[in-house]
């Protein structure tokens, strides 16, 4: 198994404020990589730089052994990005939203129709394909958001807090689908504030603070960094120990 994605000295500065500081990250093929961090740690900026939404001040992103900025056209179809915002149009029907976003990757005609149905079925919305997205509940919108990002069959999925503001059933459904995608061969990068989610699905976790990775490892390995008896501590306690209890968004 090789590296799917590598960041080399990835840095982002806004004026003189360093948001991401010389980040060197390697995501291995087939893993579900969890990225944790308090508000303002630089997680979303990192995701945005990986996806090409934000240009790094310094450093590179290497995707499948190639410089992502230079080979963007060739590699873009292999990347699926699920933003934390519900990036869908309320005045379009579910299938129209899926059509709009899946077609951006050059899929057309009968193949496009097949992919739309396949994606909507995957997130359990096929029966609602002719309903307007504005009539959907929060959980359904989240699922539609995912359907729109996976229809082009990417092999690296980036989930940026995909379970914010939804009920436990919908959350459970989404987590199951992430595991299923991973079993089907997709590598996943997952950011969340919900420690139990990250602990449940991620094979490797990185804790980020002040633009830097301060710890990396499996859930067990991270716990061992703090105490010997891992059964006596939760991932949240590890996180608070490593990043401190001070509020970050005052």
């Amino acid at each position: 198994m090789g590296a799917v994605l590598k960041t080399k000295d990835l840095t982002k500065k806004y004026d003189n404020r360093v948001v991401v500081d010389n980040l060197n990250l390697t995501i291995e093929e087939g893993e579900i990589f969890g990225l944790l961090g308090p508000n303002g740690a630089g997680k979303s900026t990192t995701m945005n730089m990986i996806c090409g939404i934000v240009k790094p001040t310094l450093g590179d992103v290497e995707f499948r052994g190639k410089d992502f900025a230079r080979h963007r056209k060739e590699l873009i179809g292999k990347l699926g990005y699920i933003p934390q915002e519900l990036a869908i149009h309320g005045n379009l029907k579910a299938w129209e939203n899926a059509e709009l976003f899946i077609s951006l990757y050059g899929i057309k005609g009968a193949e496009l129709k097949k992919r739309i149905d396949e994606s909507l079925e995957y997130v359990g919305l096929l029966e609602k394909k002719n309903d307007y997205a504005r009539t959907f509940s929060g959980g359904m919108k989240r699922r539609l958001n995912i359907a729109c990002a996976i229809g082009h069959h990417p092999d690296l999925l980036i989930f940026d807090e995909p379970t914010v503001g939804i009920d436990p059933q919908s959350r459970n459904f989404i987590l199951d689908k992430i595991r299923e995608s991973n079993r089907n061969g997709a590598t996943v990068i997952y950011t969340s504030h919900y420690m139990e989610e990250v602990e449940a699905i991620c094979t490797r976790i990185a804790i980020m603070d002040n633009g830097k990775i301060i710890a990396t490892g499996s859930s067990e390995e991270l716990k061992k960094m703090v105490v010997d008896d891992t059964s006596s501590i939760t991932l949240e306690e590890v996180f608070l120990t490593l990043t401190g209890k001070k509020l970050r968004d005052q």
């Binding site: 240009k55 990005y81 149009h89 077609s103 990757y105 990002a149």
Partner: protein
Amino acid sequence: MIRYLIKNNFKLMMRSATNILLYIVTPVILVALLSSAFGDMMEKYESGDHIKAAYSFEAEETDVKAAMLVEGVKEAAKEGDFVLSEYPGADPEKTVRDEEMAGFIVFKKDGGYTVYENGERKYEAKALEYLISSVDKRIARYMIPGTGEREGSDADITVAHPAYMEPINAVDYYGIVEVVYFGWCAVVCGAGIFTAEKKYHIGKKLKVSGLSETKLFLARFVPMLLVVSISSLITAAITAICFGVHWGELLLSALIVVLSAAAATALGLMFYNITQNAVVTIIAVFAMVWIAGFWGGSFETYMFSAHPRILKEISPIYHINRALTELSCMGRSEYVGSAAVFCLGIMLVCSCIAVTAGQIRRRIGE
């Protein structure tokens, strides 16, 4: 494949009640209101009363151009509703006042002329001025510049049917200019998409997909143009059926309306790509369009407005309004060419700036 993006953006715009209200309902209401409000004024110009005017010669002998101008104006006056009488040696200002005339023309020896207008008969005076300037322009084409001599044979010089303004009624005038004016507010039909893309971070997903700025521009430009053109044509059809608005040369008029919508769409997108703010864009575009419409005859008819000619000429809406209204009442217009050039020029320049602004923004990496 931007055709799916274009298709879905088009659906989004067509499903917006605001767009239907702005591009169909409001113009229809305004046509009814304005044509009714200005009907009396335009009837006066149309035919009702004859417009009385006088003329005299500054010198006994005149040059070729002056003679042709007098002849042309007389011919044109006969065909219109002007009663033009010679008042040799009369005081123009006194005559105009005492005889309640629209104006008094003093033809000069060198082919020039002075029009004394009656301030109390502003609209009639403007019509008189318009008639003379139209004949003058027509004659000037046949003259060899700087010589005062005629170019070509006598047969080439005809003043029998000078292109002065035929009467147009208020319904036709406002039925046409309001469709043009609202078409220039094209940016509003894209505002819903801009806002949704920003609010729900859809722009992020579009960027992730690697969509180029040119494609992104086209994905907005094409549906906006389609929506504004279709709405304008629906409005034109409704006003033609309900109020009897005449559009003259239908195909040519439709082409000018579409070109006008294309220019307006590109202008709106240019502002949006620069500011990235729908509200600022709408305010800026509306202000520009209002000024261009004010000078170009969208509110007060351009025939009667007292704006300096240069201001009218720099307003693209003036050229479009004039081309369309003349096509309606005369079946031809010398302004078709300039209207098309204005529209194509604005469309090309604004499109290039819009795409470049997007590319710069992307390069900076916002």
